[in-house]
């Protein structure tokens, strides 16, 4: 059993009641007596009511992201990025943050069992470690990993004769193969986007894809903020099939079928080489005008551009990207290479077919699937479930009740990463220790513990496994190393050195001269989902309810088609299409998304899970069913329109701004010519009312639309911080989503190549708040420091405030959304924020609990609150730092500096609401050569 010396589970359980809902009882009722249950012996690091913060690391398919977890009396309630971790720099995406919720998810696997019958650990352990019958082997299937202590264990297990495979539902095979073809070995590119004047993304969603570091988005954004008219900014070209977060941020976007990206890349390389150095390669015939213009732009910025290719693109596109970078002189400047943090990346152990072949050959006596859900996610050609049935002993270790868990004989609950010790490498090889925040809430084991048993080490605590691994490697005094590593959350000395590699130009001739691929009538593009990822977050209500950053779809996946394709098919949103990929059929509702390439049907994987009794059951359709082992990411598809229509739960149903002053945007050239364009949307307006808040600090926020990508990390941060409930698919469809901050997404311009605009919309904290004067009971009023306060316990629920809110950011508890939740979900609640009762309004409070906590400490210490001392949850987690918050009465604060930017404006300024939340207009940097006048 895992032991954590710091936190007793009892304390956690005692505090189960702490997050109980606030009932609206006034003093007119004699409440039921409460109890005070003190510690028997208070842990020295715990001060009740003062949260503790611990550094740890979250891993997705081996890529670690540093996390700082906030713990209230022993229960983690909020995850934030670790500023010292290179992949995070303080930011976290939606997935890492929401994975906290999985810890408390009542449907997670809770114990060990054999075909549904509970068993003890030793029964499980001895069954899976028993020697397989003669002629058979033990095979272990792992998710890709970078954890150094696991690598140790894998070696040990292999030494005992077991075969270890790695498999991911979203494989990075293409990237690894591409690197191998280009350089002869697997390397991982690292980009310095802060030095890139031109960025070209070839179907690469580097701003939000779930395994890329948040650091890249931050670096990119640093070149996007225009401080003055005519200021420098980078230019982003995106070539892609389905609109992505990166595509929405693009200055120039070329929507093409996935199969055609390679042609564009080849065109570009040919043109770039023509401008730079042919390197002995033949010129490509019939290159597109687009490619010629972009190539000129790239070539004009030698050593200051970045070309990247996405995982969905075949290896040749990666080769072309590497070649472009080398040809443009980027290598060593904006692009460097290092080893992949993933253990045996691109090697034979990562070949998914190997295991199938072993099973078919009858060599597998025992199979242990440690994590993942291969039965659900494997290409159906593999038909893993059938194969599993033919194996003598099958065992599964996982956090969720998955199809694989159901298909295996033995199952063991996996410890959540916040329950076990571990470690992981960042994209650049920087190691970090994962320390648990809570004693396990389930009877389970970590992957490492199972491997240790297989390795004959017995039942070892994960703490010992990790510690012993690092003890052997620590420089100097181990205890000190250990303590410092835990405190800072990174082992800084461990960053992997860069590698010098060179493109093998000879291999490129065939690629460059390959004739363009013929377009197909319809191409299916399978998308990695930004919410449920490969399906692993299917049970996570925060993520299911999170609107997709691009489509705004919740609780579902849909076949995304462009408006013109929809017109060609004669369909509208919700019309069910039958997709047929080589006789694999799937019916799925369509959703029209401008910006989708013509002839592309894009569909996210990770939905359509069918494990009965799990929250993910029946949500969306299973796109893995359309996958073949040869076509992981795209294929030709036949599309038939059915008569059926299904309702989709969209958080936003209208995407046109109707020329209203909502998102202000200009091109860099326009801004240069008209530097005061935002002024009319910012200047003080006439008012009859001169009552002003009078406290020394006046809080305000700015959001830089140049930096905001719409990735939606802030939405999840806000949900976690503010106990925002989920309302389910039906609730979203009715228009009752509770998000305090939402990302509005508008399209403007040509629907075939629209400009996508994103805008985080939250309470604007208007000085002349329209919501306040219509409240009959003073339940929403203004604070002395300028906040628009919402007092839940005073609210009677007339909803008048929402009617009069021009920004429609107020949310109403139509039902008691916390009723009927599992008791464990109460542990998730932030005790500093009231859990709202039924019938009351709620909205963004600027994280007033954080303001007041800091204020109390500052008052206690008889000092002013320093700039930056208070960060709202959305601001804290924003990967691009788009959000600033602070005292606007003090001209020296960061937010005041931002407010002096010429792009500053107020949304719907002419209404005279004088919002405290201001935006910085978005400046785009299109290439004028692509837009001849």
């Amino acid at each position: 059993m895992d032991r954590d010396p710091r936190i007793s589970r009892r304390v956690v359980l005692q505090l189960v009641g702490a997050g109980a809902t606030a009932v609206g009882a006034t003093a007119c009722s004699r409440g039921a007596p409460e109890h005070i249950v003190p510690y028997v012996e208070q842990p020295p690091e715990v001060t009740p009511s003062v949260p503790s913060r611990y550094a740890t690391v979250h891993t997705l398919d081996g890529y670690g992201t540093g996390v700082v977890a906030e713990s209230h009396e022993g229960r983690p309630t909020k995850l934030e990025g670790n500023p010292r971790h290179p992949a995070s720099l303080g930011a976290l995406g939606p997935l890492e943050q929401a994975s906290l919720r999985d810890l408390y998810e009542p449907s997670r696997l809770r114990a060990l069992s054999r075909r549904g019958t509970p068993v003890a650990w030793h029964a499980f352990a001895s069954a899976v470690s028993a020697a397989p019958p003669a002629g058979k082997e033990t095979h272990v299937l792992l998710e890709p990993t970078s954890a150094p202590h696991l690598v140790d264990l894998v070696e040990r297990v292999r030494r005992r004769g077991a075969v270890v495979h790695f498999d991911a539902a979203l494989p990075r095979r293409n990237a690894y193969d591409g690197a191998r073809r280009a350089f002869g070995k697997v390397v991982e590119p690292r980009y310095d986007l802060s030095r890139a004047a031109v960025v070209l993304a070839l179907d690469a969603d580097f701003l939000a894809a779930t395994r890329t570091p948040h650091a890249w988005a931050r670096a990119w954004a640093s070149r996007r903020r225009v401080d003055a008219p005519g200021g420098e900014m980078s230019r982003l070209y995106v070539v892609e099939a389905a609109l992505s977060v990166t595509g929405m941020a693009a200055d120039e976007r070329l929507p093409v079928q996935r199969r055609a990206v390679q042609d564009v890349a080849a065109d570009l390389l040919s043109e770039v080489l023509a401008l730079r150095d042919r390197r002995g390669l033949p010129a490509r015939q019939g290159t597109s005008p687009w490619a010629r213009v972009v190539a000129r732009d790239l070539a004009a910025h030698p050593g200051a551009s970045v070309v990247m290719a996405g995982d969905a693109q075949p290896p040749d596109v990666h080769v072309l990207a590497h070649a472009l970078n080398e040809a443009l002189g980027n290598v060593g400047s904006t692009v460097t290479y290092g080893p992949s943090p993933v253990f045996e990346a691109g090697e034979a152990s990562h070949d998914a077919a190997a295991l199938s072949q072993a099973i078919d050959a009858g060599r597998v006596g025992t199979l242990l699937v440690l994590g993942g859900d291969p039965v659900y996610a494997s290409p159906r050609a593999a038909d893993l479930a059938r194969r599993l049935a033919s194996i003598g002993t099958t065992a599964y270790l996982g956090a969720r009740d998955t199809a694989t868990a159901r298909a295996c004989e033995w199952t063991c609950a996996a410890l959540h990463w916040l329950e076990a010790w571990g470690d992981a490498l960042a994209f650049d090889g920087t190691p970090a220790i994962a320390q648990p925040l809570v004693r396990p809430l389930v009877d389970g084991r970590s992957v490492a513990q199972v491997l240790a048993w297989l390795a004959g080490m017995g039942d070892v605590a994960s703490h010992d496994l990790v510690r012993d691994h690092w003890r052997a490697r620590a420089p100097g005094d181990f205890d000190r190393f250990w303590r410092e590593s835990l405190v800072s959350g990174v082992i800084a000395t461990g960053t992997a050195a860069t590698m010098d590699v060179a493109v093998d130009w000879t291999s490129l001739a065939a690629v460059v001269t390959r004739p363009p691929s013929a377009p197909v009538a319809f191409e299916i593009a399978l998308l990695a989902d930004p919410k449920v990822d490969d399906g692993r977050f299917g049970d996570n209500a925060w993520l299911q309810e999170l609107p997709d950053p691009v489509t705004k779809l919740t609780w579902d996946n849909a076949a995304l088609v462009s408006p013109s394709t929809a017109a060609r098919l004669g369909i509208a949103d919700g019309r069910v299409l039958e997709l047929d990929v080589r006789d694999r059929k799937l019916t799925v509702p369509a959703l029209v998304v401008p910006g989708t390439a013509e002839g592309v049907v894009a569909l996210a994987v990770g939905y359509g899970q069918r494990v009965s009794g799990t929250p993910a059951e029946g949500i969306g359709e299973d796109a893995y069913g359309l996958r073949t082992s040869s076509a992981t990411w795209f294929d030709e598809v036949e599309v038939r329109v059915t008569d059926e229509t299904r309702a989709l739960a969209l958080s936003q149903e209208h995407s046109s701004m109707l020329d209203r002053p909502i998102v202000l945007t200009r091109t860099a050239a326009e801004y240069r010519d008209d530097p005061a364009f935002a002024k009319p949307h910012e200047e003080p307006t006439e008012t009859l009312y001169d009552l002003r808040p009078d406290a020394p600090h006046q809080w305000g926020m700015t959001i830089d639309l140049d930096a905001c990508t719409g990735c939606s990390a802030c939405v999840v941060a806000c949900m976690a911080e503010n106990n925002v409930p989920t309302v389910g698919k039906g609730g979203v469809r009715l228009g009752r989503a509770m998000h305090w901050i939402r990302i509005d997404r508008y399209f403007s311009g040509d629907p075939r190549a629209p400009q996508a605009l994103v805008q985080p919309m939250l309470c604007q904290h208007c000085e002349k708040a329209p919501c306040e004067y219509v409240c009959p009971v003073n339940a929403t009023v203004h604070s002395h420091d300028g906040l628009n306060e919402m007092i839940y316990n005073r609210c009677v629920g007339t909803r008048f405030c929402s009617n009069n809110c021009p920004y429609k950011v107020r949310r109403f508890n139509f039902f008691n959304y916390n009723a009927g939740k599992a008791p464990s979900m109460a542990l998730l609640m932030n005790p500093d924020v009231t859990v709202r009762a039924r019938g009351v309004m709620e909205k963004c409070s600027y994280c007033v609990q954080r303001i007041r906590e800091v204020e109390i400490v500052a008052r206690r210490e008889q000092r002013r609150i320093a700039d930056g001392e208070i960060a709202t949850a959305c601001q804290q987690t924003c990967p691009t730092g788009a959000i600033s918050f602070g005292d606007i009465a003090d001209p020296s604060t960061a937010v005041s500096r931002v407010r002096r930017n010429g792009r500053l404006y107020a949304v719907l300024h002419d209404l005279g609401t004088e919002p405290r939340t201001r935006y910085l207009a978005r400046i785009t940097n299109p290439n004028p050569e692509l837009h001849p006048a």
Binding site: R10, Q14, A20, T21, A22, V23, A25, T26, A27, C28, S29, R30, G31, P33, E34, H35, I36, V37, P38, Y39, V40, E41, Q42, T47, P48, S49, V50, V781, S783, H784, D785, L787, E789, I791, Y792, N793, R794, D832, V833, T834, V835, S845, V848, Q849, I851, R852, E855, I856, R859, R860, Q862
Partner: protein, 216 residues
């Protein structure tokens, strides 16, 4: 002809009418008064505790200050009840055989916490912070009364919002020097308001009167 109603019916009818009118006025008035009664606010309610802990003895006889046991009050929202270990600091030495202390020892040796009954109960949407009050010279007995003279602790203050606001809008008469917050014997050396106003300036006492000061 006989009249429909006998003469006395007038009196009955008018009494009924008067009662109805009185009722319409009296019922809300009674309710408004009712919520202020000590019964509702639980002022002075005896509270059964698992251990007959006598504050008089500990504070008066032994001279133990409030903050010895309730040490979190200066840095936390909660003053709370002390962990069993604090009891055992002394009671592993003195009265270690006492029957009355059996539950304390049971807790200590079993690791099961004591369950004290809460005396001062605030609704869950109220975020009260002990440390903020102590830091600004609000004495313990300002809200808790003279616990040092109580055998069993009972609530003295009504803890209604109006009661909170009374002090938040005019804190001066409720302040004392910071060092005296847990001194039950403190007496002001000059008129309370005069002292209070000086303390307001010295300790920068500016209690929040915005709603989110307490409701978040």
């Amino acid at each position: 002809m006989r009249a429909l109603f006998p003469p006395w019916s007038d009196t009955i009818f008018r009494i009924c009418l008067a009662l109805a009118v009185t009722g319409v006025l009296a019922v809300p008035t009674a309710m408004i008064l009712w919520v202020r009664t000590p019964y509702v606010t639980k002022q002075g309610d005896p509270v059964d505790q698992p251990i007959a802990f006598d504050h008089r003895h500990h504070v008066r006889d032994d001279g133990i200050g409030c903050l010895y046991c309730h040490y979190e009050a200066e840095r936390s929202k909660y003053a709370g009840a002390p962990p069993t270990s604090v009891c055992m600091n002394c009671h592993s030495q003195v009265w270690q055989e006492s029957e009355r202390l059996a539950p304390v020892r049971a807790s200590w040796f079993s690791g099961k916490p004591l369950r004290w009954a809460r005396v001062h109960q605030l609704p869950q949407f109220v975020y009260f912070d002990h440390s903020a009050h102590l830091a600004h010279g609000v004495g313990c007995d300002e809200c808790h009364g003279h616990v040092d003279t109580m055998g069993e602790v009972h609530a003295v203050a009504p803890l209604t919002m109006q009661w909170c606001l009374d002090c938040h809008t005019d804190p001066a008469p409720h302040l004392r020097p910071k060092g005296e917050v847990d001194n039950p014997d403190w007496v002001p050396d000059r008129p309370r308001r005069e002292l209070g106003e000086q303390l307001v300036r010295e300790l920068h006492v500016d209690p929040p009167v915005s709603c989110t000061g307490c409701h978040r």
